[in-house]
Amino acid sequence: MSVAREDQPEGDLRLQAAAPAYPDASNDIPVIDEESLDPEFMRLVEVFSGNQYVNSCIQCGTCSGSCAFSYKMQQTPRKLMAMIRAGMRDEVLASDTFWYCTSCYYCTARCPRGINLTEVMYALRHLAGKRQHAQAAVFYDCFNSVLRSYGRLYESGLLVRLALKTDPMSLVAYGPLGVKMFLKGKLNLLPERVRALDEIRKLYDIAAEMEEGL
């Protein structure tokens, strides 16, 4: 239901439509020089997304329309797909779009071409890897290292590692909630460990080795 705003005459819908409500509504795909395109990039994204067929995207925008964070992203999911296909590697990997993805699978459920966009978003994070310093990237790295330390997630340990790497003062902000959780018996002070931790560490090395050169 739309409510006419006081400062705009109700009948004048065309004027309202002219102002882009989403970044996607403008025509701001940058002009780029063809030399900088990476023809290999789309293939890499396809490999690390478990072989999604990026080329089958019909640019319908269903993904963008379904995503709760489209309005925050530098590029909407639909536009990102076009950029991947064009080979705009550096622009894509510098985007914040895939760091906003919450893995809600809405786009995936609705894509008429059966593309698993959630996997595409994961693949982009994986490929952006260390070059990206988004706070989300640091969070996932800390999670990964906690997992290799204990085999299980240790929530308090993860938050401390994250804070030390980003903003130590944020721990103070967690304080009151942490105390409450502790009193309700919801906070572990010590991590649980997997006995066969060496299996997990070996899997990490083996996976890294097998992915090399793909």
């Binding site: 699978y105 989300a136 299980r152 909630l177 890294a208």
Partner: protein
């Protein structure tokens, strides 16, 4: 019936009441639930964000452990459910990565065939045990409790096979069987932002404010969930949301297993009802008393 129970890390920490109530409910229903020995974290959304193959192997190790016992895996956390299913689905459908997964598992001497089935406990309760069974065992119906079912995003999405991807009805029907008055809830599979609460707090609180707002608007006395992360965001952060948006929500966020347990006559102290941060115990007591 005997299931291989995969609690996941949250159920051993911030979602302890989900673990307690799940175990109590399965015991009351006389369905075996045996925790997988030496299970490891599934990797959630974090491992796929850093390494592809590793993110498939980590959950695969859990599947391998369940497979050795020939059991169906019963999962409580939506996110664990997706991680385990994701590994299984890639193994089944993608020959290129299947051979890599197989080789890696062979190199650590763990036999793995991807055969173990993965099911969410909500699916097991509604479709395996069945609502007729449940109805026959309800001792204390939660007459008149008004609630909205919040499934969260990941439980229903593609490849999960048991529920409609956008408008599932499993929890609705289960709650109705318990005597709960289930209210309309259009946000039932909208995302709560998950672990983004740790890195994009302001944006994530916004998503949760919308979820709480519809619950309030419908007149819900409780939000019923099936995922520890949804529960954390809606419950533990409710006060922060109130501060930030100038709202005044006081809506208990309970696991479906807590209500199911109460209705089945499980003693309330076994359901962890005093662990929910927005007090939930009184509400459940009130509706039980009305019947007694």
């Amino acid at each position: 019936m005997n299931f291989a129970y995969y609690p996941g890390c949250s159920l051993h920490a911030s979602a302890r009441e989900y673990d307690e109530s799940t175990l109590a409910v399965f015991q009351a229903l006389e369905v075996g639930l045996e925790e997988i020995n030496d299970w490891n974290c599934c990797g959630a959304t974090a491992l796929p964000s850093t390494n592809y193959l590793f993110s498939l192997l980590v959950p695969a190790r859990n599947l391998a452990l369940a497979e050795q016992k020939g059991q169906i895996v019963a999962v409580a956390c939506n996110s664990c459910f997706v991680s385990l299913r994701r590994a299984k689905t890639v193994y089944e459908n993608n020959p290129e990565w299947r051979s890599k997964m197989r080789e890696a598992m062979e190199r650590i001497n763990v036999s793995f065939s991807g055969k173990a089935q993965v099911r969410h406990i909500l699916d097991i309760v509604v479709n395996e045990i069945g609502l007729e069974q449940i109805a026959a065992r309800v001792k204390r119906p939660l007459q008149g409790l008004k609630a909205v079912p919040y499934y969260g995003c990941q439980i229903a999405r593609p490849l999960n096979e048991f529920a409609h991807t956008e408008l599932p009805t499993e929890m609705d029907r289960l709650l109705q069987t318990l005597g709960v008055k289930v209210l309309r809830y259009d946000h039932k599979t909208k995302c709560c932002g998950g672990s983004h609460i740790a890195t994009k707090e302001a944006d994530t609180l916004g998503l949760n404010q919308e979820l709480l707002e519809e619950a309030q608007m419908r007149g819900a006395e409780a939000i019923v969930v099936s995922c520890p992360l949804c529960q954390l965001n809606l419950d533990a952060y409710q006060e922060k949301i109130n501060q930030r948006f100038g709202t005044n929500y006081q809506i208990p966020v309970v696991y479906f297993t807590q209500l199911l347990g109460a209705a089945l006559g499980v003693p309330l102290r076994k359901l962890g009802l005093s662990r929910n941060l927005v007090p939930a115990r009184r509400l459940v007591e009130k509706h039980i008393e009305e019947v007694l």
